[in-house]
């Protein structure tokens, strides 16, 4: 049976891991290869590397890093952050990543998704969606005209720029354009440790027939169970929870197994 996946996410800046990984016993907690190896040993199913520098000059550093990771860690990983050119996608895939994740550039130029899917296959194109719930303002009018109440709006540029685009409609559109997976981050829940946004995740998994990775809000073992059992997620991503060793990937998977979720142990 296809297992539900647990995915640690690492932020990368200038080829180094940032937002402190606090593992004991690592010689260099800023070395992406060493951190990846530690997660490999914990039984992580995949890794996501998010390049937060994402400037043109750093592209070569990133490609070199991808190659180094692929030569040292025999597990699948996705690379994202500021990717907007077919050539970037090709270089990162050829360097050894399984998947490339696109976000802002896909919103600005949706054809990037269809072009990339045609060239490299849907299976390696992940579209990351950062979504935030729209609440009615006092006058009863909505913030963005295109959006209905109780919907979510897509944000770009690392969550700084609202787009007026409905997140569910966007999810359907990216699937239609050929995305192979959606990495769905709830901006409302991210960093709260209150659990994944079950409502948002369920709404998206109900709309598309491609896999969905839920992201943002994991704080307890039960949160992982809920996002799989109640919201239909295919994978759950977390960062600080794992980096600060509140739980190991193994602990999460053992817990899920006990509760009857198919995981790989």
């Amino acid at each position: 049976m296809l297992s539900k996946r647990i995915i640690p996410c690492l932020d990368i800046k200038d080829g180094r891991v940032v937002k402190g990984v606090k593992f004991l016993g690592l010689r260099d907690a800023g070395d992406p290869v060493e951190v990846a190896r530690a997660y490999d040993q914990q039984g992580a199913d995949e890794l996501v590397f998010l390049d937060i520098t994402a400037s043109f000059e750093n592209r070569k550093t990133l490609v070199a890093l991808v190659q180094k990771i692929a030569q040292n860690i025999f597990m699948p990983f996705t690379v994202g952050g500021g990717i907007g050119e077919i050539e970037d996608i090709r270089n990162i895939l050829n360097a050894g990543a399984e998947k490339v994740s696109v976000n802002t550039q896909a919103v600005k130029f949706p054809q990037l998704i269809s072009d990339a899917a045609r060239r490299f296959g849907s299976q390696c194109i992940v579209v990351a969606i950062d979504a935030k719930k729209i609440r009615k303002t006092e006058g009863g009018r909505q913030k963005a005209e295109k959006l209905s109440a109780d919907n979510w709006e897509v944000f770009i540029n690392g969550g700084r720029t609202p787009t007026g685009i409905d997140a569910l409609a966007w999810a359907e559109k990216v699937a239609r354009l050929g995305a192979g997976e959606i990495l769905l981050t709830s901006m409302d829940f991210d960093g709260t440790k209150d659990g994944y946004d079950l409502e948002l995740t369920k709404a998206v998994t109900g709309k598309v027939d491609i896999p969905v990775i839920a992201s943002g809000g994991a704080g307890s073992l039960e949160d992982f169970y809920n996002v799989f059992a109640q919201a239909g997620a295919d994978a759950a991503l977390a960062a600080s929870l794992f980096h600060y060793q509140e739980f190991s990937v193994k602990q999460v998977k053992n817990y899920l197994k006990e509760r009857g979720v198919a995981v790989r142990l």
Binding site: S3, D45, Q71, F74, M75, G121, C124, G180, D209, D234
Partner: protein, 204 residues
Amino acid sequence: MKIAIIDYGMGNIHSVAKAVALFGARPVITNKKNEISSCDKMVLPGVGAFDDAVLELEKQDLISVIKEQVDQKKAFLGICLGLQLLFESSQEAKIKRGLGILSGRVVKFRPESGLKVPHMGWNDLKVVAGNCPLLDGITGNSQVYFCHSYYPDPADKSAIAATTHYGLEFASVLWKDNVYGAQFHPEKSQATGLKMIKNFVERC
């Protein structure tokens, strides 16, 4: 032992090269005919679209050398798209036919009854051919990493060495004489995958 990692610009060569080196073989990353034919074994990786991959192989004039080396009974391992290319045709292809080294075709998963496509993640291997050298020591409950929307449908069912269930039972490991293929990524499947690479180096 030298193993050619055929580098035609489609997909990950580094993990495979490093993995074969772990087990004492010398990987030769190349798209040159004479280098390929001077190796003892070959690996054809592949990420991308079927048509593009065939076009690249044609452009770099690699198809004849692959067929020639396979005819000479050199061990050959196709990975993911590198396996699919061995078949006669693919539903993904609009203009190109495959290499026809294995009979049959490549078909698409159908997103019916809640089946999500691509088939993405870790799934079980059911070993059908217990004597397949590539699968030596691989137990029934091993999981490997898949990332694909199309799967092989061989005409010759005796070439199926292992299957995986996803909506239906499909061929995930192929084996015919000196030709081996994995629909998943052994080079990304941690210990289980590395065991298969070791088998390819030592037993195939």
